[in-house]
Amino acid sequence: MSEHEQFAEDLALYALDGLAGEERLNLERHLATCAACRLELEQLRGDGALLALSTMGPKPPLRARQRLLDAVAKEAAALPTLRQAQGRLSRAKNAREIGHASAGPRRSWWGVLGWAATAAVIVFAASLWKENSALKQSLASASAQAAQSTQELEDLRRIAAPIIAPEAQRITLVALKTPPQPQGKAFYLRNRSSLVFVANNMPPLPPQKAYELWLIPAQGAPIPAGVFKPDAHGSATVVNPPLPAGMEAKAFAITVENEAGATTPTMPIVMMGTGE
């Protein structure tokens, strides 16, 4: 019996979650390397779904609907990136049953941002760095003060270096069994027009394209805030791009543009976030 024949029956059981132990492990190992079997598994799940869909029964109690919407409203109050959920749900709804690829890119743009308070230190460091450079120029060449500034600048460079240096190792930690999602974190100090943006797991782009970061003000058009391309690992940074003074940022967004960047964003928005 060929390997595939052997796995055919196991696949059917696996599709129904009925395979266990050694057989399950062997099959999962095989599935990791066999696209044909993975496809067959999806189809077997579909065949099983037909069984489920043929089930007849009473309709759910009316109160269940309101109970769900109440639970959802509670969740909505706690989440920072609802716009993405809305877009994705609408696409899922609109894609109907016929398996159109109109639902957009396969990867979920739902980013989970959970970085520690060290982030605040980086913003502060970046802004101090900028201020310190200006300060250094305008101060008299009193050697004690100059020495202190240099020392502070050195300290700040050291703090910021792991974030900004191209050779720095970037590690994304996610909850176990979750595939890495594109993530972006923008740190913005309005009164210093100081912006540091760090991204992970960004999908690669075709040769003449780049991502562009936008500052979305409370009123008026989005403001260009830096053009970037991810490296081989999907990481990218934007540090202190030129920005108009004192802009209030309602949100930040990313679009895909030509390499040279654009002055107005080209839809669609691929990532977005509002303040926490």
Binding site: L16, L19, E42, G48, A52, A64, R67, A85, A92, W110
Partner: protein, 164 residues
């Protein structure tokens, strides 16, 4: 923005809640438990809209599979074996409307009716009771290999009915 989210979910709920509830109830046999699974499935979908890949299949079929899996997990009091993001379901029939689903359901019941009883029983035990092949073999007194073959044959019979 909030009302936009909720109306999308409400539409999906209105379209598929009866399928989800029926599957949950069939597996669990208890209306309270079925209602809990119903809540859980839709709330999960709302929290993880990316888990469903619309390019690859039908939302109804996906929901039915997720519901069945969750209900079985609840029935067997075990932790979920598969993350919902790992589940991809390809379904042949077009199930866009209530009428289509109703026709498909009738066809499936027809296939089940003409299936050899031992095959149908094995399939239903595996599907609606989440029994493993060794448990089914134990209960029916049939060899393991036979059970595996029957389950696969049962699923293929369903598939074939929709291929013509």
């Amino acid at each position: 923005m909030k009302s936009g989210d909720q109306s999308a979910l409400a539409e999906i709920y209105d379209r598929y809640s009866s399928v989800v509830y029926a599957v949950a109830l069939r597996v669990l046999g208890d209306t309270g438990a079925a209602e809990d699974v119903l809540q859980e499935v839709f709330l999960q979908l709302w929290k993880n809209p990316g888990a469903f890949d619309a390019a690859r299949g039908s939302l109804g079929a996906w929901l039915a599979v997720i519901t069945r899996n969750r209900a079985i997990d609840s029935l067997r009091r075990r932790r979920p074996e598969t993350d919902i993001e790992d589940v991809i379901v390809s379904v042949a029939p077009d199930l866009a409307s209530e009428a289509d689903r109703s026709r498909a359901a009738q066809k499936v019941r027809g296939v089940l009716g003409t299936m050899p009883p031992a095959q149908r029983i094995a399939l239903e035990m595996a599907y609606f009771e989440g029994m493993s092949h060794s448990e089914i073999a134990g209960k029916t007194g049939e060899p393991l290999g036979t059970i595996k073959t029957r389950i696969r044959a049962g699923l293929m019979a369903l598939r074939k009915a929709f291929q013509t």
